[in-house]
């Protein structure tokens, strides 16, 4: 066993209110520089919807991720040979049109305009060229536009639905939507890393954060096509690619990443998972339907004696093992099995997991009054407004059983908590429902607590990074004291 530790994440979609505070927190810290205006390392999409960049999930167009060819894992977008033949023109690369052209307004005109009959206006100007432009798209252009035939209907995940199901989703008073916040998944089998001809992209051994070395990047742009989640971005100004760094300077000092820290709905959890790196390739080779399970098997029990011994042998610090034992992510993913990886069929083994949404709340209508819960403890998920098939396409690699399991469990916990707090549901029945959902009152209380009453320290269990030891390994700290510092010492400018 080659045990490695990975900082992993859970986003609880039932709690996301779509406020975009995470996106703004990230933008203000990392991507307000020239060339990065269009980038959203963190973005929040409305589903059903086309996302950012438009239809990023359409791998027939963008060729992201891995595919199985005769039992071997191959990159969809490139290969060692194709890297050479496509060296001058990357055929699958998205362009700025697939994202949007960033703009500002010429506010100065509001002050300088000569007196006239009309109010002066601030016309939009491109943040690339500075010229006047017509705004055709923007960040969150299809925000809250579920049910819209122009935007939501182009969601590629809807392809698995029947004509009737699709029509329902676009009928007034039947349409549904939920929010889908996305950052880099810091995958265990990242296709961006595997595609980089310069070796600029790498995974940090100690915590699995995927980073892009700006000094090594030579603007081959392979990662832009290879990442199926479109979470590496090309900085058109510096000629270098950039991506989410999981706020590693914050994580190293024990702080939650900015998007996690600022989350209003408290939907985000961060913790360590231990996994067996020897199993990566084998895991990623399973069929779409098995991938959720095999990825879970790759994640190891941090309480297991053998795992602890092997982890220590691999240089993993005691503090990290302790953090793995307290990890909220481990609970959601392994203990309770209610967090699922997004689009696991891309085979990058993403380490960001989602608790799929139950929305809209299941209810039954009698005359004009709406009852908050069905007589049965499990509403008929097949008849739910959010089709199981749709969610399974996003979070189960097409395997609906995982989604049924998660929704059933969440629904049983709701019924159980209602029996506890309101009392209009029979406790015996509620407990029976829990059992049927592979749960029991003790676990239900824990899930309830970590979902609804979680404190900052419950949500973010960040191990000490031990960077001081890392620096000692690379150079003598006393010698380092006399130097000018490290990292960029000049402003990174285009080609200079």
């Amino acid at each position: 066993m080659d045990i490695r530790s990975q900082i992993s994440m859970v986003f609880h979609l039932d709690k996301c209110i779509g406020c975009h505070t995470c996106s703004i927190a990230c933008k203000n810290i990392w991507t307000d520089r020239k060339g990065t205006e269009y980038m959203w390392w963190n973005n929040v999409e409305t589903k059903p919807g086309t996302g950012f960049p438009t239809r990023w999930e359409d791998q027939e167009k963008y060729k992201g991720g891995w595919e199985l060819v005769n039992g071997e894992l191959k990159l969809k977008s490139t290969s060692k040979v194709k890297t050479v033949t496509n060296i001058f023109h990357n055929p699958n690369m998205p362009t700025m049109d697939d994202y949007y052209e960033p703009w500002s307004y010429k506010y100065k005109d509001l002050f300088d305009a000569p007196a006239g009959d009309d109010q002066p206006t601030a016309k939009p100007i491109s943040m690339v060229t500075g010229e006047y432009m017509d705004i055709e798209a923007g960040p969150n252009w299809d925000d809250d536009l579920s049910g819209s035939p122009i935007y939501a209907e182009n969601d590629i995940n809807l392809d698995v639905l029947s004509e009737e199901q699709r029509d329902q989703l676009f009928a007034i008073e039947r349409l549904m939507m939920f929010y889908f916040p996305r950052i880099c998944n810091h995958c265990v089998n990242p296709s961006c890393v595997a595609s980089c001809p310069s070796g600029a992209l790498y995974k940090r051994g100690e915590d699995g954060i995927v980073l892009l070395d700006q000094e090594r990047c030579r603007a081959w742009r392979s990662c832009i096509s290879a990442c199926p989640y479109k979470k590496t971005y090309y900085n058109w100004n510096t000629g270098k690619s950039e991506k989410c760094i999981l706020c590693f300077p914050r994580v190293e000092t024990g702080q939650a990443p900015a998007c996690f820290h600022s989350c209003v709905g408290r939907i985000r959890y961060l913790g360590v998972l231990l996994y067996d790196a020897d199993k990566i390739e084998e895991t990623a080779k399973h069929s779409d339907h098995e991938l959720v399970d095999t990825q879970r098997e790759m994640i190891l029990d941090p309480f297991d004696e053998d795992v602890i011994r092997d982890a220590k042998k691999n240089g993993i610090a005691d503090s990290t093992i302790k953090a793995a034992q307290e990890s909220p992510v481990y609970k959601f993913v392994k203990d309770w099995g209610i967090a699922l990886p997004p689009h696991v069929e891309y085979r990058t083994l993403p380490m960001l997991f989602y608790v799929p949404p139950m929305l809209p709340v299941m209810s039954s209508q009698e005359g004009d009054s709406v009852r908050s819960i069905n007589e049965e403890y499990f509403p008929d998920f097949e008849k739910a407004r959010t089709p199981i098939k749709y969610l399974a396409k996003m979070f189960g690699g097409g395997n609906e059983s995982h989604l049924r399991y998660v929704l059933k469990k969440q629904s049983a916990i709701r019924a159980y908590r209602r029996a506890v707090t309101v009392g209009d549901i029979d406790m015996l029945n509620a407990e029976k429902a829990l059992m049927e959902a592979d749960c029991h009152p003790k676990e239900a209380d824990k899930i309830y607590k970590l979902t609804s009453l979680c404190t900052f320290d419950d949500r973010f269990v960040i191990p000490a990074a031990h960077r001081e030891e890392a620096i000692e390994m690379m150079k003598d700290p006393l010698e380092h004291k006399q130097e000018a510092g490290f990292g960029f010492r000049e402003a990174p400018e285009r080609g200079k």
């Binding site: 690369m93 690339v128 060229t129 310069s198 603007a219 270098k240």
Partner: protein
């Protein structure tokens, strides 16, 4: 007049080459050592994708073929003369190289059109980029002119230019053959030296960036902040 000509010849063909090559080596290495960050192709495909294909692909494949041919003529002139001794073989090589030259020209014209007509591509084009494009244009036009009007280049290159270039390399420039060369040929050579001079100061450095390690390495890369080998061996020993 004759005196000025000989002064210019001496400067451009026996001094200028050393200025350019010395600058090229010194600055290229120093730039890589201290400012590796600036080694980038500075691609603008992200801003404009369609014209990019018709500019980049013909230009790069054309210029690589033509440059390779020049290099071979320089390295093994005798072999080239032997090859050219059969007229059919000479025609095949000359025509093929002329086509590659035209491809380069078409690509370069497309590059210039793209960088002029597309507002975003124009915005990211610096003065240095225009300078490079200008010299490349001179280089290709004089090259094609020479190939067409001063036939057959591959043969007389091997007979008269290869010896000159070798003499430059041997640090005793021999201008015997050069002084009698037509103007376009001289312009072609001086422009080539100028491009070598521009090389370390412009985006041309991206030519040195090859995906070499990628072709042999494992797909995944992990960087450790501790030494895995030491940790594992000490564990084993203890």
């Amino acid at each position: 007049m004759g005196q000025l000509k000989s002064i210019l010849d001496t400067f451009f063909f026996s001094m200028f080459p050393y200025i350019t090559i010395f600058t090229f080596l010194l600055v290229t290495i120093q730039r890589y050592r201290s400012k590796a960050y600036t080694y980038s192709s500075l691609s603008s495909q992200f801003l404009e994708n369609r014209q990019h294909f018709w500019a980049m692909v013909p230009f790069h494949y054309g210029i690589i073929s033509v440059l390779t041919a020049h290099f071979v003529w320089f390295l093994v002139p005798e072999t080239v003369l032997w090859w050219n001794s059969v007229p059919a073989r000479l025609y095949v090589m000359e025509i093929a190289m002329f086509i590659f030259g035209l491809m380069t020209l078409i690509g370069l014209v497309n590059i210039i059109i793209r960088r002029q007509t597309n507002s975003m591509a124009r915005f990211v084009t610096t003065k240095a980029d225009w300078l490079v494009l200008g010299f490349l244009m001179i280089q290709i036009v004089t090259g094609l002119y020479t190939a067409y009007f001063h036939r057959w280049g591959s043969s007389w290159f091997a007979a008269s230019l290869a010896p000159y270039l070798w003499s430059v390399f041997k640090l005793s420039p021999d201008l015997t053959y050069i002084t009698a060369m037509p103007f376009m040929v001289k312009a072609h050579i001086v422009s080539a030296y100028s491009i070598i001079l521009l090389f370390p100061f412009t985006r041309l450095v991206h030519i040195l960036v090859l995906p070499n390690p990628y072709l042999w390495r494992k797909p995944q890369l992990v960087r450790w902040n501790w030494n895995r080998k030491t940790i594992r061996t000490t564990e084993k020993n203890s």
